[in-house]
Symmetry: C2
Subunit: 191 residues, 2 copies
DNA sequence: AATCAAATTGACTGATTAGTCGGTCGCAAT
DNA sequence: ATTGCGACCGACTAATCAGTCAATTTGATT
């Protein structure tokens, strides 16, 4: 219930993540989560009102951690292209370092278990991206495309890269990430 | 069980699709599917060995129908750019015309309910894309990128467009599709 | 030492669900 | 007319699961 730190609470969240990506929602009973976390079922329901709220908490807290990584050191980047490249590469590297968390997002981003409230709260944390996009569009380095498309193009590149590296782990390298970003940037760069 | 045509079988598949995208797997009991399809539960299990096989059948048959659309009239296209554009636009248009089917794919493509067998069979039907990619890479109109990336870049563009149009239905238009494809092609076109 | 609240336990329950099974119906072949 | 068979039915069952609750432990405060 409370969001304060608790070792058992963390253990429950960790077990939930592991089981959920391996077995899916319907094949992950709360009893198994509790067992894996080394607690009683009662403890699980003490910390989380119900199973759905547990998933939502996991979603929100995982996303918060990811976005922290994305924000780190953006201010150090020079021009707008470098700024976008920095955020993008941070995202890809986070995804590679946290495959389970990434898979969880993919599996649950559009699932009915995640409430609208949770979804909105997660979206809010993405605000800082809008500033970057605005800066990009106001510069003269970008084609004249509308902002919503820019945003989805950006996200699409990320998803594409993650898909690609999941299917072909041997292709993971700084060089290929740079290559991908070049392709991406070429697509929208002003002539 | 049999894959032959049967009105009730079709009704079950249709009800499954509708309920699945609305309620998700775990909240769609077979009893409800049967009710919605206007048949008895026994009939459902007569046509499909179990719930999982029902989902797999739906996945496979829906994908087959989609790929039929993608293949249509490709041979009429002229150069390789037009060929790729044709397949891509067919895919996007199919997705827009069949939102439930598309959502179903998104929701279940990486889910544990879809067996490896089903996944492989679906992948096989995509073979014809490989020929197109090979033709593209052998031409001098494309940057020197490796085939696996080309494939995933292609798929990524599709997913991105679908995401974008789902979030912003007012942006659906031939013009925007063409714009997207231009951006895409710009990214990989030889200098 | 006494008090109290929060954390934890796990047996238990009410509800739900996937899948079964004995049997009916309609129809095609002999 | 009889046989056989596949489609179909729906009440039923065995199993499972989310969530409860009364009892116990822990740890901080007075």
């Amino acid at each position: 219930m409370t969001a304060e730190y608790s070792e058992k609470r963390e253990a429950i969240l960790k077990a939930t993540l592991n089981l959920l990506v391996e077995r899916g929602f319907h094949d992950t009973p709360t009893s198994l989560i509790a067992k894996e976390a080394g607690v009683a079922t009662g403890t699980l329901f003490h910390h989380f009102k119900n199973k759905e709220e547990l998933i939502n908490a996991l979603y929100l807290e995982t996303k918060r951690k990811m976005i922290e990584v994305l924000k780190k050191d953006v201010h150090l980047a020079g021009n707008i292209e470098e700024k976008i490249k920095h955020v993008w590469k941070s995202a890809v590297q986070w995804g590679i370092m946290h495959p389970k968390e990434y898979q969880f997002f993919q599996q649950f981003a559009n699932s009915p278990f995640i409430s609208k409230l949770t979804r909105d709260e997660a979206l809010n944390q993405f605000e800082f991206i809008n500033d970057i996009i605005e800066e990009a569009l106001n510069s003269d380095r970008i084609k004249n495309i509308y902002p919503e498309f820019f945003m989805d193009y950006f996200e699409g590149l990320f998803t594409m890269a993650m898909n690609h590296f999941r299917k072909h782990p041997e292709k993971i390298s700084e060089e290929n990430m740079d290559m991908m970003f070049d392709v991406y940037w070429n697509g929208i760069a002003a002539d």
